[in-house]
């Protein structure tokens, strides 16, 4: 495992979620679920982040915000769609202001469904994302060599 996989930094953005998944994202960072034991840390700065954790669906207004955060993140990067809204739009997919899941605008690597997402599922998703990040890093290195 490379250095990156031991300390991936996460940035969280709430698309148009109901808050349920967002508070579960924060809850897994708390001592009880403690996702930080995998070396993960939550950051507010996209330029420090390796994993983009999206909750909620995409709409016309946040599309540019999400893309802006994604573009600012250094390569390699992994996108994690958390909750059913980020996966497909969920119960709100028929709403006039909702475009659908995160994959409408970004290449999603890991989908974590659930309404609201279970903390255990979310931890599993983050651990998978860390693995994908490592693979992407190895591929990037091989490409350069």
């Amino acid at each position: 495992m490379g250095a990156l996989s031991k300390s991936p930094w996460i940035i969280h953005y709430d698309g148009s979620s109901c808050n349920g998944c967002d508070i579960e994202v924060l809850a897994v960072l708390m001592p009880r679920f403690d996702v930080e034991r995998f070396g993960v840390i939550n950051t507010g700065n996209p330029k420090h982040a390796d994993i983009l954790l999206l909750t909620g669906s995409i709409n016309e207004q946040n599309k540019s915000v999400v893309l802006n955060i994604y573009d600012q993140m250094p390569d390699p990067k992994v996108v994690l769609a958390v909750g059913i809204c980020a996966t497909s739009g969920g119960i709100f997919r028929e709403c006039y202001n909702v475009m659908g899941g995160a994959d409408k605008v970004l290449p999603v690597d890991v989908y974590v469904p659930g309404c609201a997402v279970r903390p255990e599922a979310l931890i599993d998703g983050v651990v998978q994302a860390v693995g994908i990040l490592e693979k992407k890093r190895a591929a990037q290195k091989a490409g350069k060599a």
């Binding site: 016309e60 207004q61 202001n97």
Partner: protein
């Protein structure tokens, strides 16, 4: 349980009725709009000591101009911008007028898309 009264009034009476509510010490609870097949309904709701009063104003369509009550209750501006952005209600003289930029919706007048001939929906 507090009382709930819904009172029908005319657009022209609105400012006077709302001013009277304010002088009684009523709290402006909310303003909302309902789109019905042939008309629009506005509700101006107030609360005092848990008694709830709502003035219902019926508009034939969204071309009828409605005077703003934000000069009486400043907080009305968020509701008035909302009914303007979502229903296309023409509100005259909002204290803080976002001119359609309060709700950033993909489609204008999302709750009343047929309002403009040719429909932008």
């Amino acid at each position: 349980m507090g009382q709930q009264n819904i009172i029908d009034i005319q657009v022209s009476e609105l400012a006077a009725k709302v001013t009277a509510m304010k002088s009684e010490g009523q709290r402006l609870v909310q303003i909302c709009c309902t789109k019905l097949p042939d008309k629009l309904e506005l509700h101006y709701s107030f609360d005092k000591n848990y008694d709830f009063t709502s003035f219902r104003v019926t508009l034939a369509d969204a071309t009828v101009k409605v005077p703003s009550v934000s000069g009486i209750y400043l907080s009305a501006f968020i509701y008035e911008n909302e009914i303007h952005d979502l229903f296309g209600i023409q509100v005259d003289g909002i204290a803080v007028d976002y001119k359609g930029k309060f709700y950033r919706t993909a489609k204008p007048r999302a709750f009343n898309p047929e309002q403009t001939p040719g429909g932008q929906a």
